[in-house]
């Protein structure tokens, strides 16, 4: 038995590398190129498996029917005059059946001595299914295309070191074929979103990442400095305000899929850079965005999973059992007030601005749910009935919204960019979409009145902390207070950041923006949901990690 996929210990690594560098020299001495220029293949491994699935055990095809494949060697067994290699390419794997007498001169010896697991090989041969039923390419010739210098991790199924998986994603992908599959699905989801948007007549645009003003938001922006302009620039925390400028400019249906940056902590749910889609449609209202959300999510689910039911792991639902999510349309649409009433029996519409009574009722209802003291404090600190309603919603209702639910009509106090509700005073035409207890999308009938908008932005007291896809403005005053507090707390002037109301955006609104609705949807979260991934790091190829 030849060198199996034995486990090289860390101390072996350098030794193996040295041996392989010697092999590189040896190959060159034989006039062979250990780093070839190109390889023409006729088939992928999976294509061959498909074409020849009916080939019987022990059957072999005409020797003149030659195929050519290429990929990485992931396993090998060598005997005297016979060797079995497993070659894997992007599509799948196939066995290479290597007999000494079918190969020219010393090729079989080369295969045994110079080819290691991890090398990338081009192979030509004929098709046969072994007696044991393994479809194989009977090797007639081969070329070493890339010599690998470092050994693959232990068993090739076994890269379990989570940290290493993220730091060396390529090793993760070689070792765990499922990982590459998640990125294929991610690509497919984004592609499906684009198709859906294009067929609805939307145009994709690109708006700036680097901006002159932080614009102000709950999220702390990254700051950088442009040398030749001699000026601080901020990385965008949303695409919203520039896309709305496009509406003012006369584009009626626009969207952008792109990277957003937030200078905040990292976790299984947060990466400093992440991807969203924001879309805006003139002459429509938030009803239209609900239909769009259903359309987008179901189209993506069908594209990657072929069905609308999906199992999703328990982490979101804070239980150990996975839940089956049903994406069959239509999805439930219910107002925030009704959902809270359903869960607690309290009708916040009855308080009519009496925040003290609202707080008392909320605290009493929370007694039954065993919430922690800090949550009770945030209820006590809520400055308006709308804020209390939102606190109770987040604490009691949100985690229960496992099946897709549109939560409608948010209080005006927490929705500075949404249009006031056309019927209910104190509310806005806004919804958030929840699936698996997690916010997926946030949308409004957009506020188009510049004067109202200016006062909203300047007077709003608080925005939701988990507003993942539409990163709302905070009032200038509140942000300044925040910065001030931060300064006082840390005594660290470097961490303060400048906050401004985007005056230019307000000017654009004064030129007139058509009535419109808009939505932001977190693509990483959608990919997590549709690929059953627990961590955002599983759906971002190269996540940001703490320095070791």
């Amino acid at each position: 038995r030849g060198r199996a996929s034995a486990a090289p210990s860390t101390s072996d690594r350098e030794a193996i590398r040295a041996i392989r560098i010697k092999k590189v020299e040896e190959l060159r001495n034989k006039g062979l190129d250990p780093y070839a220029y190109k390889w023409d293949r006729t088939h992928t491994a999976n294509k061959l498996q498909e074409i020849y699935r009916h080939l019987g055990n022990g059957e072999e095809l005409d020797q003149s029917d030659c195929v050519s494949i290429s990929g990485r060697i992931v396993a090998r067994r060598a005997f005297g005059k016979l060797a079995f290699l497993t070659l894997r390419d992007e599509s799948g794997a196939i066995q290479l059946y290597c007999e000494k007498e079918r190969l020219q001169s010393d090729k079989f010896e080369q295969l045994k001595t110079l080819v290691d697991i991890g090398d990338i090989l081009g192979a030509t041969g004929t098709i046969k299914r072994t007696d044991k039923g393994e479809l194989s390419v009977c090797l007639t010739s081969f070329s070493l295309l890339t010599k690998s210098l470092l050994p693959l991790p232990e068993k090739y199924h076994g890269l379990t070191d989570v940290d290493k998986r993220y730091r060396q994603r390529y090793v993760d992908m070689i070792a765990n074929p499922d990982v590459a599959d998640i990125f294929r699905k991610r690509a497919k989801i984004i592609s499906e979103i684009r198709k859906t948007m294009e067929s609805a007549g939307f145009i994709e645009v690109e708006t700036p990442v680097l901006q002159g003003a932080a614009g102000g938001a709950e999220a702390r922006p990254f700051v950088t400095y442009h040398n030749s302009l001699g000026q601080d620039l901020y990385l965008r925390i949303a695409t919203e305000l520039h896309l709305k400028r496009m509406l003012v400019g006369g584009f009626e249906k626009v969207y952008e899929i792109g990277r957003i940056f937030r200078n905040e902590g990292i976790s299984t749910r947060h990466n400093p850079e992440f991807t969203t889609i924001e879309l805006y449609e003139a002459y429509s209202d938030y009803e239209s965005m609900m239909n769009m959300a259903e359309e987008l999510v179901t189209a993506c689910a069908l594209a990657v999973n072929g069905k609308l039911a999906l199992d999703y792991q328990a982490s979101y639902a804070s239980s150990d059992i996975g839940v089956e999510i049903c994406l069959e349309r239509p999805w439930r649409r219910e107002t925030m007030n009704n959902l809270v009433k359903e869960a607690t029996g309290i009708d916040f519409a009855n308080f009519r601005g009496d925040v003290t009574t609202a707080r008392e009722a909320a605290l009493k209802a929370l007694d039954a749910t065993g919430v922690v003291e800090s949550d009770r404090n945030s209820v006590r600190a809520s400055p308006s009935v709308g804020h209390v309603l939102n606190e109770v919603f987040e604490l009691v209702v949100e985690p229960r919204l496992l099946q897709p639910t549109f939560v409608l009509d948010y209080p005006i106090e927490i929705s500075p960019l949404a249009k006031p509700h056309r019927r209910d005073g104190g509310l806005t035409e806004r919804f958030e979409l929840f699936i698996c207890g997690r916010e997926m999308a946030n949308a409004f009938s957009e506020l188009t009145d510049p004067l109202d908008q200016a006062s909203q932005i300047k007077s709003s007291r608080k925005v939701p902390s988990e507003s993942h896809s539409k990163f709302l403005f905070l009032q200038r005053k509140r942000l300044e207070e925040q910065v001030e507090q931060h300064r006082r707390k840390d005594g660290d002037d470097d961490s303060a950041y400048e906050v401004k109301v985007d005056e230019d955006f307000l000017t654009a609104l004064e030129y007139g923006m058509p009535p419109a609705s808009g939505m932001g949807l977190g693509i990483d979260r959608l990919v997590m949901l549709l690929t059953n991934s627990a961590s955002i790091r599983d759906v971002i190829a190269f996540p940001v990690l703490k320095t070791k």
């Binding site: 190109k38 442009h226 620039l233 006369g250 230019d504 923006m513 058509p514 009535p515 703490k546």
Partner: protein, 494 residues
């Protein structure tokens, strides 16, 4: 006869105009009217409306038909207090509104008061019937006329000629044709860039440029998707700056207390994915360079990089030819485009994208054009001395250090640099590249990430595509020998 109502606004101070409008909105709110309605159900786009009714005869009025359209008013004219004409623009098309007091739901007095409050730039929804005027102009005759959003500022006006009567219904700029900046209503460049929404609103050509941008990117995606390339996203912020090729933006992650650099290229991450087994990958995305701003440089810009396992630079030249010629054909209907290479004031030149593109060997071509005989070993002192002399002879300035690579051309440390000094290659070879031309086989000393040429010592398997003397693409058979790569990086840092 029609009287343009420009006089109504003419002479009013912009601040006064703005304040008047604010007052009028406040008055509406005061009287319980919401001046910003939530929704208007436009059933047809303006273009659809035009296509549906352009076949009407002059004087036809389909009074039984009801249509709903919406858009922005870009001109207003009146012939009496009972008859107003507007041009309604939207989605690159326009149609006339003929508001006649006799057809309106409002009584005459209300009608006059309402229409004198409607301003150029307002966004309106119209419910009315289609018809053509006696002069043959397709119009909509409103029964209901709703202002949906208000333009509180005076819009810049078209200075040349009255109104827009001479304009076609859709006067869209077509990709590949020359530009016509004289037709712009908003000409001031500073305002155009700072308030792009005004540029888009007022200059229809500009709107078409951005639509074309969107189509170009969409074409590239479709082209690569059909070849089984997978679109991926790699980090825009990295812990290490991507080499010495360009000055990066630096930022700081507070909670991790970590210095981060904005990417200057996705190259190294994309190659890692190829190592991981994704054989064909691409990324279309923003890159960032902390450098000066000029005609062709913005601190953030968009690139497409793609990597294809088992293929070499010959395959990529073919692919590039197919992609670009196919794109030009799809967008313009032919292979030849007009481009204002010598400034918008001059006639455009023609650029021909008919494949195959010309291929010129960098050193061979340089020797031929400049009548040089460069020593074969480009690493030698002899070659360096020869090139110093050549530069002097042709008055090509190369600031020190006068390395051989710099004398020839700027070294390329990553895929797209987009800035180069005009050195020997720039002076002679790139100058002749008007139609798409591949300059190939660059010397090893200026191509640290490219694989050495399989048969020409000292050279690499690399190409750059030049169009109108500008570098558009840069590609290699990728260097994948880690030992050699390490050595080349080390040499670069020397």
């Amino acid at each position: 006869s029609r009287v343009a109502v420009q006089a109504e606004d003419e002479g009013i101070d912009p601040t006064q105009y703005y304040e008047n409008r604010i007052k009028s909105l406040a008055a509406q709110k005061e009287s319980g009217i919401n001046p910003y309605p939530h929704k208007f159900e436009a059933e047809l786009t303006i273009l659809e409306y035009v296509n549906k009714y352009e076949g009407l005869n002059s004087g036809d009025h389909l009074e039984d038909v009801e249509e709903k359209i919406a858009g922005r008013l870009m001109s207003k004219r009146s012939s009496s207090s009972k008859l107003f004409f507007y041009d309604l623009h939207g989605g690159g098309a326009k149609v006339q509104i003929m508001a006649d007091a006799r057809k309106s739901d409002l009584n005459e007095e209300e009608f006059t008061r309402f229409h004198s409050s409607v301003k150029r730039g307002d966004i309106v929804g119209i419910i009315g019937f289609p018809g053509k005027t006696k002069r043959g102009e397709l119009s909509i005759f409103p029964k209901t006329f709703i202002v949906l959003s208000h333009c509180l500022h005076m819009l810049p006006r078209q200075r040349t000629g009255p109104g827009s009567e001479g304009q076609k219904i859709t006067d869209a700029w077509i990709p590949g044709s020359g530009r016509n900046p004289d037709s712009y209503t908003l000409k001031d460049q500073e305002t155009r860039y700072r308030q792009r929404y005004l540029d888009l609103m007022l200059n229809s050509e500009v709107r078409e440029i951005f639509k074309t941008r969107s189509k170009i990117i969409s074409y590239i995606r479709r082209f690569l998707d059909e070849l089984d390339f997978l679109e991926v996203e790699t980090p825009m912020m990295n812990m290490i700056a991507g080499g010495a090729a360009a000055r990066p933006f630096v930022t700081h992650h507070n909670e991790l207390n970590m210095r981060l650099f904005m990417r200057i290229a996705p190259e190294l991450f994309l190659k890692q994915l190829v190592v991981g087994g994704l054989d064909r990958v691409y990324e279309i995305g923003k890159q960032f360079r902390n450098e000066g701003i000029d005609l062709t440089h913005n601190p953030e810009f968009t690139t497409c990089e793609f990597y294809m396992a088992f293929a070499d630079y010959n395959d990529l030249m073919k692919l590039t030819e197919d992609m670009l010629s196919g794109m030009v054909l799809e967008l313009t209907g032919g292979y030849k485009i007009k481009y204002h290479a010598n400034g918008l004031g001059q006639d455009p030149i023609e650029i021909d994208f008919t494949p195959p593109f010309r291929r010129v060997d960098m050193i061979e071509e340089l020797e031929k054009i400049a009548n040089l005989d460069i020593p074969k070993d480009l690493t030698s002192d002899e070659a360096n001395a020869y090139l110093v002399k050549a530069c002097a002879k042709f008055d090509v300035k190369c600031p020190p250090p006068q390395t051989t690579a710099r004398l020839l051309d700027k070294a390329s440390l990553c895929k797209l640099l987009f800035h180069r000094s005009i050195l020997l290659v720039g002076h002679f070879v790139e100058e002749i590249c008007i139609n798409p031309t591949f300059i190939i086989n660059h010397p090893e000393i200026m191509s640290p990430l490219a694989k050495w040429h399989r048969s020409k010592p000292g050279l690499t398997e690399r190409f750059e595509l030049f169009i109108n003397k500008h570098e558009l693409c840069n590609a290699y058979t990728e260097l994948n020998d880690p030992v050699v790569q390490y050595q080349r990086f080390a040499d670069q840092l020397k």
